[in-house]
Subunit: 445 residues, 2 copies
């Protein structure tokens, strides 16, 4: 067996067995399979795909390339959520403390933003002092003590994925369902969870733009989760416009604080409640998703999500004074508004383009080692369906980079489409998906 | 423009323009495009192909990444041959001196073994002292003096291809018509030739296993050659079983010496004479291919191919005593025979598998920097169509690697298929192809 034979076999569309997949992945970690062989393999997988058995084997080998955390000593059903990524997707920051406050332990290992999408880790790190680099021992200690923990992928967790993820980004091999599944599920299964809720995004700002692809991805993720004995359910949610109003790390934290203090940002809270309801149900604290949702609402309204978030921030070293008084946070040097040139209704806010503009402003990364400006970002003033008058401010840009201000404002103006006819946003929660199939989701929030 | 965008564009099946191809290839030479990006690109080309315009642009950029040799001062029409590669394909070692002895200058820049196939360069280098690393000045001098020269690709010749060729070999991206065309034609066009004969292999041991693919490759190569102003014709020849009896570098040199001394190895000599006839015709020393063939036969029978080969070996530093007395060559530590378990006829000798077994024995490379054992290889005792008795030796394995002896022998036994019904080998020369089309070839040897 040699790496080239395995690449050729996959290239020809043949099914790989466990020995072959293991040889290739282990070889990659041990530098016996070169980067250039891995990238050729990844591209071959992009074209020839993997069947379900290959995908689970691939996931299993990635998972077992590192430590699989054992949280069995901690009481309760541990539940996490994973989102396939979007623009303005700050759900985890409200969801995790809300669900934890309902009595369901939430151990969460998150990723950084890459490409046009943001990452939970970058958002958390915008809180001064907040440590995301806990060791796995600390991770276990925090979840045991306060029922919630939010960290980044450590070197021990799925090292094969860590190495491969960086490679995929620069070799055009991101958009592949088996590769995405292996990457997501190997990390999530390593966390020590018992159950998982997935938020699979679809639309312009999602990695899987088409709904059919997103459903296929969701089905694969759910099947893999269940195969590994973790109850997994998913929701297909809209990512054609950014979620909520804020895009940019600290701006998103502030929006989350406001929501946990009772502000209603409708799309953001609808997604948060539905995912939360499912997590609470899977965590055994509610009989149905609907019951879970109403539990989540009560808890949040009672201020307990906020309390739990504050507890998390304190426990992980964050400076709580910025949470209680966000106004003291440093301000961007430049702030400009983008105004409407006509009267009408917002028909579209291109999430992909907003994500790219965010990168320009300093809120995201083009390359893995780019440095993020946590203050930078975009505050939308309107959302799809809203009516506008000429000269209304549609969005505000914040950045320290003077040189890109004008270009960013021009691009943002083009990304927000105003037309004369009234219009409604796309349905937000498109479907609920479990091992039995895809079901319409009748909004209940 | 960045490398990832270009990979994604090709991955999506879009046509690349000259600027994009140039950016990618030049970037690769200048280390701005990483190996792992190139291999992902190559795999994307494997799946999405290139059209004729992209292929000629690609060839042109590869060709002009280095020196294009000018041999116009040397009298005569310079003709070379290129084979797409096979197992036991040692034709060049007899063909080049034979054609040169007919008065047609043969400037040949050859490659190393790639995947399961051998390379002329490795075979020449198995001759103690033989130098294949002449500078281009020496190259010109040798061809001017003795009408033949056989070297390896120098750093100045198509450096883009040199770097890419090594990568393709270990990333499963060899079997792609545009990539093969670009690689072959950029090197051949750089040699300073006036005309070219192609031996395009088809069958299990060829890179293009299917006849349809092989014909498509031949047509592309011929179209590219003619587009660059070089008369190019090709033959489609069988590579379902190894050519001749020897597989392994020095073993093949010995078989060639024997043939140049008059031994008839039918399949090997038929291919050699037909290609030789075409070269002599293109070189203006015969009116037709048939006339060229008979000229070649006369020359070889007169011992003049052998003389020219000896002259070449001496001129390029080889120790002629090994040619005159091959018995003095070092022997492999282990030699075992593979025997027939039944009576019948040889129906198949799987050339691909024989090639892979050759690699195991040390006769080929798994990775670019693997070291070849020139003694190692396989000597077939029978060929397809031959009758065998139980216990007849079918083949002999030679290697220094004790640990793989048994596996190699078992694999080789399975690669040689014996059945009770009589059988004939596949037609050897399937077609003659030129810019006008594909024509049946009526054996005339």
């Amino acid at each position: 067996m040699n790496p080239t034979e395995i690449i050729r076999k996959k290239r020809s569309g043949d099914k790989l067995n466990r020995t072959e997949i293991e040889f290739f992945i282990q070889g990659y970690i041990n530098d016996k399979v070169a980067d250039y062989q891995m990238s050729a393999f990844l591209m071959a997988v992009y074209f020839q795909k993997m069947d379900f058995e290959e995908t689970t084997t691939f996931t299993d080998i990635m998972l077992n390339s590192g430590v699989v955390v054992d949280l069995s000593e901690i009481p309760g059903i541990k539940v996490d959520k994973h989102s396939t990524g979007g623009v303005g997707d700050k759900v985890s920051l409200i969801l995790a403390p809300m669900v934890a406050a309902c009595g369901v332990p939430v151990p969460m290992i998150s990723g950084r933003g890459l490409g046009h999408t943001g990452g939970t880790l970058d958002k958390l790190e915008s809180i001064p002092g907040f440590r995301t680099d806990l060791s796995l021992d600390e991770y276990k200690k925090v979840i045991a003590e306060i029922g919630i923990v939010m960290i980044g992928q450590t070197a021990e967790i799925a090292p094969a994925d860590k190495k491969m993820y960086a490679l995929r980004d620069v070799t055009g091999t991101v958009e592949s369902i088996p590769l995405i599944s292996g990457s997501i599920m190997s990390k999530k299964l390593a966390e020590g969870i018992d159950a998982l809720v997935l938020d699979v995004k679809t639309g312009r700002g999602a990695f899987m733009q088409s709904e059919a692809d997103a459903i296929e991805l969701a089905k694969t993720l759910i099947a893999v989760g269940n195969k590994f004995g973790k109850k997994t359910i998913g929701f297909l949610t809209d990512m054609s416009q950014p979620l909520g109003y804020a895009v940019g790390n600290w701006l998103e934290v502030v929006e989350c604080i406001e929501c946990m203090q009772g502000k209603n940002v409708p799309d953001l809270m609808e997604v948060t409640y539905v995912l939360g309801g499912a997590m609470v149900m899977l965590g055994g604290k509610a009989g149905t998703i609907e019951e879970g949702i109403s539990k989540c609402k009560d808890i949040l309204q009672a201020g307990k999500a906020m309390d739990k978030f504050n507890e998390l921030v304190r426990r992980q070293g964050g400076d709580i004074s910025f949470i209680t008084n966000p106004e003291k946070y440093p301000k961007s040097k430049y702030t400009i508004g983008v105004k409407s040139t006509s009267k009408g209704y917002i028909h579209n806010i291109d999430a992909l383009e907003v994500g790219f503009i965010g990168i320009m402003l300093g809120a995201g990364r083009m390359k893995v080692d780019d440095i993020i400006d946590p203050k930078a970002g975009i505050r939308l003033m309107k959302k799809v369906g809203d009516s506008v008058k000429a000269d209304d401010t549609l969005a505000i840009i914040q950045t320290d980079k003077k040189e890109i201000l004008e270009t960013a404002a021009n691009r943002l103006e083009k990304a927000i489409c105003v037309a004369t006819e009234p219009c409604a946003p796309s349905p937000l929660i498109r479907a609920m998906i479990n091992e039995k199939g895809v079901f319409p989701w009748h909004g209940c929030v």
